[in-house]
């Protein structure tokens, strides 16, 4: 049986129930009856990891297999990690409490760049060599997937293989091959070789990268002809037919998203040019309302949850939203299950829906115009006009709402001070809209919040060639905006650009960054996305000591003919299309969304969803 963490330790850490498992619907299996042990790792704390839908799906999907036992692993919080290291307790899985070294696979989901040091830290805490090249037959295979895997290169030194795209099919194919390999007692490389032909598998050690003197890539090629030159992501063609769990683990302790999540569709039709998700998940594929109602019913019965939410990249775009929400409300209300709505495009339908579904105070509504002027919104292809926004907030104020949150980005390509002044002006217009709403209709006490984040150029977007504004420029822009906001009803929040700077480096990083990650880990960097643990100075020291210029990654404009570190990954959307979109952006031209008109992005190769409707 697994490791017993003594009560002495558990009584002296924050939230000990993070480490004790036994939750309702967690899966218990007999180790004698299975062939494969898979440790599904989320490189953040329990409450964050347990909120992730992808993990819930793949955990239960793998456990549907009679030959496989999938368990959950989260990053222990710093207090627990210190105790574990002090008492020589290796990282263990929640279900059996067995150390990770006893598993066949240790799989990480990559949700954000700033979790990379946690991956290295978790491997180290597990006693698994952090470098792929140092693992032997005694060790588990370390694999990874998720949105950040679309640029796998910064993690190439640490991960044995990546699974590109949606995981439901590919992960089963890998398990099938593994069972055979394990029976035959073949060398470790042989397993990797045999999965290299599975579409979507990327094995970094099978490829060689050469660099020019200026640090850019001169060539990227497979070491043998049998390895694919391009690795195409996987998608699920029919979301109605694909596996979706009927049970999910119900945690004891509160987690970030403590509710049933129902996934309406994958992909997004809108094509906002800064948004990576809008490109990597193409084409848009919906579940039918019938299937969603069936899933909701089953999950409600198996979990007893008191709340349910709808998830997708843009829920207002779901074609059967009214049918679905009517069905859900009529079914769930008698069971005292609340429907929690994501931020919807505000119109009379959605306001009515919010009143029906959420018996909450009419406080906050969220809007994301992203940019302050129509010109810049055209550049980023954000199809929201000032008229839309003011109409929406007026409707909301008239319906009794009194709080509005507005989200913007600073540092978007082509941005000028006029665009930033536009943010403040938009805020003032929202205040005016409130003032011109009759007193008896509007809620008391207006709260407008303007939040700005710093733009991070991402791979597989039309802005992948763009430099990021320097931290100094971003701070100046924040200061400028602060000075332009004159209304006492507006509160301004901004993010420190240091974290965005690091995100920009790793989002578009290459293999050379592996040594920086390792160095930063050695300097104690972890939980970087948690403000109190973010050690910017240690990061900068790591870059210096490795002789790597962070501005090469964050602040450099790339030319269209440069070989980008992620060019060997094929998301269906072509580089040509992204270039066309980039050129249109600079000309301030918009591209219509997929439902209106096909703009020929290339995702039709998958013959799925909206492309074949």
């Amino acid at each position: 049986m697994g490791i017993r963490v003594s009560d002495r330790i558990l009584q002296n850490v924050e939230k000990p129930s993070r480490y004790t498992g036994n939750e309702w619907n967690s899966v218990i299996k007999d180790l004698n009856e299975i062939d494969i042990r898979f440790a599904f790792c989320f490189p953040d704390v329990y409450e964050v990891g347990m909120s992730h839908l992808g993990m819930k799906i793949l955990y239960h999907l793998l456990n549907e297999r009679s030959d496989t036992y999938c368990e959950r692993v989260f990053a222990p919080w710093v207090d627990m990690e210190a105790k574990m290291r002090e008492h020589n307790i290796p990282l263990f899985a929640l279900e059996t409490r067995d150390p990770l070294t006893e598993f066949d696979f240790v799989g990480f989901t990559l949700q954000y760049e700033m979790s990379y040091t946690n991956i290295i830290n978790m491997l180290d805490l597990a006693g698994i060599p952090v470098l792929s090249s140092e693992r032997t037959k005694e060790h588990p295979f370390v694999c990874a997937g998720g949105p950040c895997a679309y640029n796998p290169e910064p993690l190439a030194d640490f991960v044995d293989f990546f699974m590109m795209g949606e995981g439901e099919e590919i992960i089963n194919e890998v398990m099938d091959v593994y069972v055979q390999w394990k029976k035959q007692n073949l060398p470790r490389e042989e397993f990797l070789r045999s999965i290299s032909s599975i579409e979507g598998i990327y094995i970094p050690q099978f490829y060689e990268v050469k660099y020019n003197d200026d640090g850019t890539i001169s060539s990227f090629s497979p070491k043998k002809d049998e390895y694919p030159k391009k690795i195409r992501k996987r998608i699920i063609k029919d979301l109605d037919k694909v596996y979706f769990p009927e049970k999910i683990v119900v945690p004891f302790t509160g987690i970030v998203h403590d509710r049933i999540m129902v996934e309406l569709f994958r992909g997004c039709t809108r094509g906002c040019r800064f948004c990576q998700a809008g490109f990597i998940y193409r084409p848009v594929r919906e579940r039918t309302a019938d299937r969603l109602l069936e899933i909701s019913r089953k999950l409600q019965e198996s979990t007893g949850y008191e709340e349910m939410s709808l998830t997708s990249l843009s829920t207002s775009d779901y074609t059967s939203l009214k049918e679905l929400t009517d069905g859900l409300i009529s079914e769930m209300e008698p069971k005292k299950v609340n429907l929690s709505l994501p931020s919807l495009r505000v119109d009379s339908f959605s306001l009515e829906l919010m009143e029906k579904a959420q018996k909450v105070r009419k406080s906050g509504l969220t809007f994301a115009p992203e940019a302050g002027t129509q010109r810049l919104r055209n550049v980023i292809n954000k199809g929201v006009t000032e008229e839309d926004l003011i109409k929406s907030v007026s409707t909301a104020f008239g319906g009794g709402w009194n709080g509005v949150k507005l989200y913007f980005m600073l540092g978007l390509p082509t941005e000028t001070l006029d665009d930033i002044a536009g943010i403040a002006e938009l805020g003032h217009k929202v205040v005016e809209a409130y003032m011109s709403t009759p007193k008896e209709k509007r809620g008391k006490g207006l709260n407008v919040t303007i939040s700005t984040s710093s733009f991070v150029p991402k791979p597989f977007t039309p802005f992948q060639w763009e430099p990021q504004d320097s931290m100094e420029v971003l701070r100046e822009k924040q200061f400028f905006l602060k000075g332009r906001i004159k209304s006492k009803n507006i509160k301004y929040n901004w993010h420190d650009p240091q974290l965005s700077f690091l995100e920009a480096i790793f989002a578009r990083g290459d293999r050379k960054l592996g040594k920086v990650l390792l160095k930063a880990f050695e300097k104690g960097c972890k939980f970087d996305s948690w403000g109190e643990h973010f050690k910017f100075d240690s990061w900068m020291e790591s870059f210096r000591e490795c002789g790597i210029d962070p501005l090469f990654y964050a602040g450099r404009k790339r030319s269209y003919d440069e070989i980008l570190p992620w060019d060997h990954i094929d998301i269906g959307v072509s580089k040509k299309f992204l270039q066309r979109e980039h050129e249109k952006a600079l000309k301030e031209e918009v591209t219509s969304n997929c439902r209106v008109n096909c703009s020929g992005c290339g995702a039709t190769v998958f013959e799925g969803g909206i492309c074949v409707e």
Binding site: R4, S6, D7, L10, Q11, P16, S17, T20, N22, E23, W24, V250, F252, T253, G254, Q300, E301, S302, T303, G304, Y305, E306, K335, K336, V337, K359
Partner: protein, 274 residues
């Protein structure tokens, strides 16, 4: 027809780190899974109509927790128990239930609780010696402890809240294999825990050959007066000049009524009558 059910349940090692609020949420979800027709409060944010006896501190196990559930229609207690048990996670189990005919709810009527507190002492401490010190301790007319309340230290006399205390040896290096056989001490929860400590922690076995003691105590509990067992141990330790290192706290009983007449919450049987 509205009906009310009172249950007794246990909280084992598996679920001892769950807070009281999380426990209530767990019950709400288990009730929904079991489709038991629980009544909900009226109003904006409906809550299931259930009341728990006395919150358990994080890390404490119990064989004697109680809760009242108000139902919208009649479900007999044994069916209620069976359906809910099928939907409760490992470590929580309903072990008794009855139709609740009491006029006040369990939380309002709790008056006393009994605990087992497993402690470690440095060096050899004779049980008989401790027993006689306990007699002296209980003869004190006032026993003051300092308790932090709203940022200020407050002196409280806990003597009236201590109904009884006894101490026994709960483990010994010579009898590590069979703790139960060697002593008169019999609470199985504590004995199992001592066995587990010894089986899994060699260091524990070597370093602490003879000083594992278990205090058994009956204390005031509930909304009027409530004493946590760790305070009683702390006060006695100070009185006896011994450092007690608490290994485990376990609640063995919870009672309603008054100090003079403590009763079993399920059947009203009188435990103690003065």
């Amino acid at each position: 027809m509205l009906s009310s059910i009172r249950v007794k349940f246990v909280r084992g090692e598996e679920v001892k780190y769950i807070s009281h609020l999380d426990l209530m949420k767990m019950f709400e979800r288990a009730l929904r899974r079991s489709k038991i027709p629980i009544a909900y409060s009226q109003g904006f944010n409906p809550h299931p109509d259930m009341v728990f006896g006395l919150p358990l501190s994080v890390g404490v196990t119990s064989e004697s927790e109680y809760a009242d559930f108000e139902l919208e229609s009649d479900v007999n207690p044994s069916e209620f128990t069976q359906r809910l048990n099928q939907n409760l996670p490992v470590g929580i189990e309903i072990v008794g239930a009855c139709e609740n005919k009491m006029t006040s709810n369990i939380m309002a009527s709790v008056a006393g609780a009994s605990y087992e507190v497993l402690v470690l002492t440095e060096g050899k401490v004779g049980v008989e010696d401790l027993k006689s010190k306990l007699v002296g301790f209980l003869k004190e007319e006032q026993i003051f402890i300092e308790k932090a309340s709203k940022g200020k230290l407050k002196k409280i006399d806990i003597r009236p809240m201590i109904y009884s205390i006894d101490v026994n040896s709960a483990g010994n290096s010579e009898v590590a294999e069979n703790t139960e056989a060697a002593f008169g001490y019999t609470n199985p929860w504590i004995l199992r825990y001592v066995d587990m400590l010894k089986a899994e922690d060699n260091q524990f076995k070597q370093n602490n050959p003879s000083a594992i003691l278990c205090f058994t105590m009956l204390l005031a509990a509930g909304s009027v007066a409530n004493l946590k067992p760790e305070f009683a141990i702390m006060a006695f330790g100070r009185y006896a000049g011994i450092d007690f290192d608490i290994l485990k706290i376990h609640r063995s009983g919870l009672f309603i009524g008054t100090r003079e007449k403590l009763m079993n919450p399920l059947d009203g049987h009188v435990l103690l009558s003065i």
